[in-house]
C-alpha cells in the first residue's frame, strides 16, 4: 500500500504554516539554558506578560503543600517563584506553552489520548532524566517527550483519512505505526516531526530525539534519543495516558545500556513516580477539557 506520492520536507513545512505559530518562548528557553541570567529573564518576562501562566504558577504555589509553609495564600508571582523554584517554573511555562500550542493546532480528528500520551512521555522523560546517572537537561527531556509524536499531529491535521487507514492497518496486521506510515507516505511521523522541530529552531538533541525515538540505535551518540525511546516504552508499559491502544513491541537494548538501566526490583519506585506525576500533570493542565 502506498499513496500516489511520498511526502517531502517542503510539503510538510508548507502545510505547517497553517498551524498556529510554534511558541518562540520554548526555543528561547531551551537555547538560553546555559546562561542562567538570560534564561531567568525569559522566564520572568513570560510570567509577567502571560496571565494564564501567572495563574498556573500561583495555583501551583497555593496547593495545600505550599500553603502549609506560608500560613496564608500566595498571591504574588515573585513569592510564588521563590517558593516553587526556577526549575519547576520553567517546566510549568514549557508545559503551558505546549498546552496552548497543541490545543490550537489540534482539530477534532486528533484524539484526546494523543495529548495525554504526549504528557505521559514528557513526564516519563523528566523522571528518567533525574533517575539516570549521566547528565541530561530535564527541560530538554520534557520538550522532547512532549513533542516526540508531533509528526502524528501533522498527519492527523493534514492527512486525516490516510492516518486513519494507517492506524487500522497497523492494528489489523500487528505492525508498528511508523512502519505502516513509511509504506504509505514514504516517511514516518518521526521524520515529519523532526522536520518540523528543525524548522522551529529547536536544539539538535531535541530534533534527534523526535527523529529517533523508535530507532534509537541509529543515533546512539545522543543520550536524549535513548531517553525518549525508553520513556515512551515505559509510558506504554505502565498503561499511561488513558489509551486502550497502549502496546510495547520493541525495547532497544543498547538504549537501556546507554542509560545504565537495569530492570530489577529497584526500578519500581521510578514506575510509581512516573505514574503519579503523569496523573497529576494531566489533571493540573485539565487535558481533554479544551
Amino acid at each position: 500500500m502506498m499513496s500516489d506520492t511520498s511526502l517531502t520536507r517542503d510539503e510538510v513545512i508548507r502545510c505547517s504554516r497553517y498551524l498556529p505559530s510554534f511558541p518562540k518562548l520554548i526555543t528561547e528557553i531551551l537555547t538560553t539554558l546555559d546562561d542562567h541570567e538570560s534564561n531567568l529573564r525569559v522566564l520572568v518576562r513570560c510570567v509577567t506578560l502571560e496571565p494564564m501562566i501567572s495563574a498556573r504558577i500561583l495555583a501551583f504555589a497555593n496547593t495545600a503543600a505550599m500553603r502549609g509553609r506560608m500560613g496564608s495564600d500566595v498571591c504574588n508571582v515573585n513569592t510564588a517563584i521563590s517558593l516553587i523554584g526556577v526549575n519547576r517554573v520553567r517546566h510549568i511555562v514549557l508545559m503551558s506553552c505546549m498546552d496552548a500550542f497543541m490545543s490550537s493546532a489540534a482539530q477534532a480528528s486528533v484524539p484526546v489520548s494523543f495529548w495525554q500520551h504526549s504528557v505521559a512521555v514528557g513526564v516519563s522523560s523528566v523522571e528518567l532524566a533525574m533517575y539516570v546517572t549521566m547528565p541530561v537537561i530535564t527541560s530538554a527531556a520534557l520538550v522532547a517527550g512532549l513533542l516526540h509524536d508531533i509528526g502524528q499531529l501533522w498527519l492527523y491535521r493534514f492527512k486525516a483519512e490516510d492516518m486513519r487507514i494507517c492506524q487500522h492497518q497497523a492494528v489489523e496486521h500487528k505492525r508498528g505505526a511508523d512502519d505502516v506510515e513509511r509504506d504509505y507516505h514514504g516517511v514516518d511521523h518521526c521524520t515529519i516531526g523532526a522536520w518540523l522541530a528543525e524548522n522551529w529552531g529547536l536544539p539538535r538533541d531535541v530534533v534527534a530525539a523526535i527523529a529517533g525515538h523508535h530507532q534509537p540505535e541509529e543515533s546512539s551518540d545522543i543520550t536524549l534519543v535513548s531517553l525518549v525511546h525508553v520513556a515512551e516504552v515505559l509510558s506504554n508499559a505502565l498503561d499511561l495516558g488513558n489509551c486502550p491502544e497502549n502496546r510495547v513491541t520493541t525495547l532497544c537494548r543498547s538504549a537501556c545500556d546507554k542509560l545504565g538501566l537495569v530492570w530489577n526490583d529497584e526500578i519500581r519506585p521510578l514506575f510509581g513516580r512516573i505514574e503519579a506525576r503523569s496523573r497529576h500533570t494531566n489533571q493540573f493542565f485539565m487535558i481533554g477539557n479544551h
Partner: protein
C-alpha cells in the same frame, strides 16, 4: 522533631524517609515534609479486600499487562525483564 526516628536514604537525587509503622502525620509533621518539598507519600495499609476479590483484580491487571506486551519478544532478556517488572508492579 515531630517525625520521630526515621531512616534517610539518598539515592538518585531523592531523599527517602521511612517512618515507623503507626506514625501519626500531624499538621506540623506534614509542614516539615512540605518544607523539604516532599512530593509522594507511600502509605502501607491492610488490604481489606476479600481473597476472591484480590484474585479477580490481580487477574484483570495481569491480563492488561499481557495485552500490552502481546506483540513483544519475551525471549529477549531486556524485554522480558521489563515485562516482569511491569507485571509485578501492577499485580503487587
Amino acid at each position: 522533631m515531630v517525625l520521630g526516628s526515621s531512616v534517610n536514604i539518598t539515592q538518585d537525587g531523592y531523599l527517602s524517609l521511612c517512618f515507623p509503622a503507626g506514625l501519626m502525620l500531624t499538621d506540623e509533621s506534614l509542614n516539615q515534609l512540605h518544607a523539604h518539598q516532599a512530593e509522594f507519600i507511600d502509605i502501607e495499609q491492610t488490604d481489606t479486600r476479600r481473597d476472591e476479590q484480590i484474585a479477580v483484580d490481580m487477574a484483570l491487571a495481569a491480563h492488561r499487562v499481557l495485552q500490552i506486551f502481546a506483540g513483544a519478544d519475551l525471549n529477549d532478556p531486556t524485554m522480558a525483564s521489563l515485562f516482569n517488572q511491569a507485571l509485578c508492579y501492577r499485580c503487587a
